[in-house]
Each structure stands twice: as C-alpha cells, then as structure tokens.
Homo-oligomer: 216 residues x 2
C-alpha cells in the first residue's frame, strides 16, 4: 500500500509536453513515439494492482493480461492521434477539440496532483484507443481527511464488445481507488447500466441513491 | 464572465500557510487574524455573483447580504479554530483531525488550481463557522473540454436553521459553477433532501438519476 502510494505520487509529477515537438513527430510518422510521450499518471499504479481475488471474469482477464494485442494504461499525450476523442464521441458530445486544446486540458489535469486517472485500452496492433474510463480522486475533510473516487466517462468501442473490456476497465478503476486509499468509489448511471455496475459490486444505498443535476 | 474567470484564476494562486506562525497566533489570542489568513479560493469570486434574478428567497438574501452578523466566504486556513470540523460532524463522521492534518489537506486542495471551492458561513459576532458546502470543479475532455461542478458536504448548524441559509449556500455554489463555466452542476442526496434541491432548480433526469457506490 505504501509502495502504491509512492507510485501514485510519482505519477503526478508535472511534465510539460512540448507541443511543437509532438506536432513535428506526428507530421513525421503519424504517431508519437512512446519514449517521447507523457502519461497522465504513472503506469506503475496499474501494474501494482492485483486481480487475483476477483471472480467476476470468465475467462479470467486482468489489466496485465487484458486479451490478445490489448494494453491497459494511463492516457498519454499522444492519444489525440490514436482516436481517444473519437472513442468518447461514441458515448456523448465531444465537439471540436484541437490538439492544442487536448494538451492544455491534459496538462491542467496532470497539474492537479493525484486527481485525474483517465485510463485507456489500446489495441497495440493498430495503436487505436478502443476503451476508456476516468477515476477522479476527490479530497475531503470528513472521515479523517478522506479521499473519494468518482468514475466517469466509461466507454468501449462498439467493435470490441463481448470481450469483458467494460468490466475490465471499471474493475481496474475500483482497485485503483482502493490502492489510492479511497473510502468509497461512486458513479452516476442510466437505468440500463444498473445491472452491469451491480455485477461489479456497486449498490444503490437505501434512501441515498438519488442523483440530481442542473444543466446551465 | 471574463472578469470572474480572472478572479477565479487569481484565487487559486498557491500561498503556503506557515503553520508555526499560525500556531503561534492561535496560542496568542485564540483566533488567526484575518490579515494573516490564507483562503482556499479568492473571495472576489463570491463578491462577483449576482442573485438579482433568483426568486426562491423570501425575504430576499444573497451572499453579499446573508443576514445580520453573517458572512459568506471561502474556507480560511484559520477555520480549524472556528469550528469548521465540529460543523461537519453534524453531517457525518469526521474523526480526529489535527491542525497539521487540516492545513495539509487545505494546501493540497489549494494546489489543485480552480478545483476546490469549500464555502462557509461565519457568524461574525462569535467567529464561528455555522454553515458550509463544497463545490468541486471536475475537468473533462467531453463537450469541448468542459467543466462540471459537484456539490458535496452541505451543512448548516442546527442552531441556525430557518434562516434560508442552506438554500443560500447551495444557490451560491450553483451561481459559482455558472461563473466558472460549468455545463452542469450535480449532486447526490438522500430521499428526504430531494424536495429541497428541486426547489433550487435541480432535477432527476428521466432514466439517468441513479447514484451507485462501493464502500471500501
């Protein structure tokens, strides 16, 4: 646990992405070489997670072995070119976002140390992002200055359904929340998704399951 | 709007609280002099909010005029001594939190620029914190790199009920979310609180009002 927290701390050190350099690389060969890439958080955090105790996968998969030619990792600064935003567009409105907008938001998230854990699944044969979900860590004063995890924007490409990848990415975020010391992890979902999340251990607590919003 | 955002930006400049200095002040006179105090965000953000269009208050109150001897402001580094945690204990478990724990969490929140807006109501006659609520700003990629507001830990001291202060602090956070450019503000609440939040404009969206959690 102490080791995981160290990793998490290291993961959120600020690294400024050199946008010109990235753009140049992109023009050269279509993708950012991973050695030059900045990750939103340290991938060692994912590598530290154990799925040994989980019984909800059949066949058994884990972030370390997600399936043939797949990789689970932190969002990278080069994922703009790998279709990360096209994938989000399968979930909700994304709109026009330039590479510069993407990097600005990426760096703003990264500068909030230990807060944003945008996690993706990459098809390593095509370098395409085919799954994504976000764990936001909220710091509180209650419960001895506790942390709460919030899961947002869970999506798996429609071409990759039936491989337990939605379950895999959500279970990864739950275990990450535990490793980071959260006292709970919460989410909001549509009626159709209740069964899916409950199969992963989420519950609607009696008298306390109401999600309200105001759209501006 | 541009001006508000400037204020918001200024509000999150990092100011390190000198703990020894604070402790010394506390020993001297029981309270931290406000001139030496650090605020979580710039109070100019609250001062910029207009309540002119709101019809839900009778009699009319606002963050600028919350009632006799009351003040609405950002959480301050001296609010540990002003009973901020005792107030939170009226809402949920708080546990043992030292002044050092409090300041550590306060500074960690402050270093996440523009994220944590813990807002309090102070009784200026007793210097006691008698109301509090938090607006967390979550940064997203969806909707053109949008921001979402999340309201948490809303509490008014039982000795100050019946003065519209719960409504006042929640309405303040909604207007703050608008001023900071959020596309929506959300919250989770118990069954009993639905009516209260709906009176402030919140809705349970058809098919999308489910709040799920896993406790660790």
């Amino acid at each position: 646990m102490a080791e995981v927290n160290n990793n998490a701390k290291k993961s959120s050190d600020l690294v400024i992405v050199d946008e010109d350099e990235l753009n140049q690389e992109v023009q050269t060969n279509g993708f950012v070489p991973e050695a030059k890439e900045s990750f939103l958080y340290d991938n060692a955090l994912i590598e530290s997670l154990s799925f040994d105790h989980l019984t909800c996968f059949n066949p058994k998969i884990s972030p370390a072995q997600p399936g043939m030619n797949l990789r689970v990792r932190s969002l990278g600064s080069g994922d703009y070119e790998r279709g990360f935003l096209d994938l989000l567009a399968q979930l909700t409105k994304v709109g026009e976002i330039s590479k510069s907008d993407f990097l600005k938001r990426f760096n703003a998230m990264k500068s909030c140390q230990g807060t944003y854990h945008v996690t993706v699944i990459e098809d390593t044969t095509t370098q395409e992002i085919i799954g994504a979900a976000t764990l936001v860590i909220e710091q509180k004063f209650i419960r001895g200055c506790a942390k709460k995890g919030i899961i947002e924007e869970v999506v798996v490409s429609d071409r990759y359904r039936g491989r337990q990848l939605g379950k895999l990415i959500v279970a990864t975020l739950i275990e990450m929340g535990k490793a980071l010391g959260c006292y709970k992890v919460t989410l909001n979902c549509t009626d159709q998704m209740i069964k899916f999340y409950c199969s992963l251990g989420f519950t609607q607590e009696e008298g306390n399951a109401n999600f309200l919003q105001i759209r501006m």
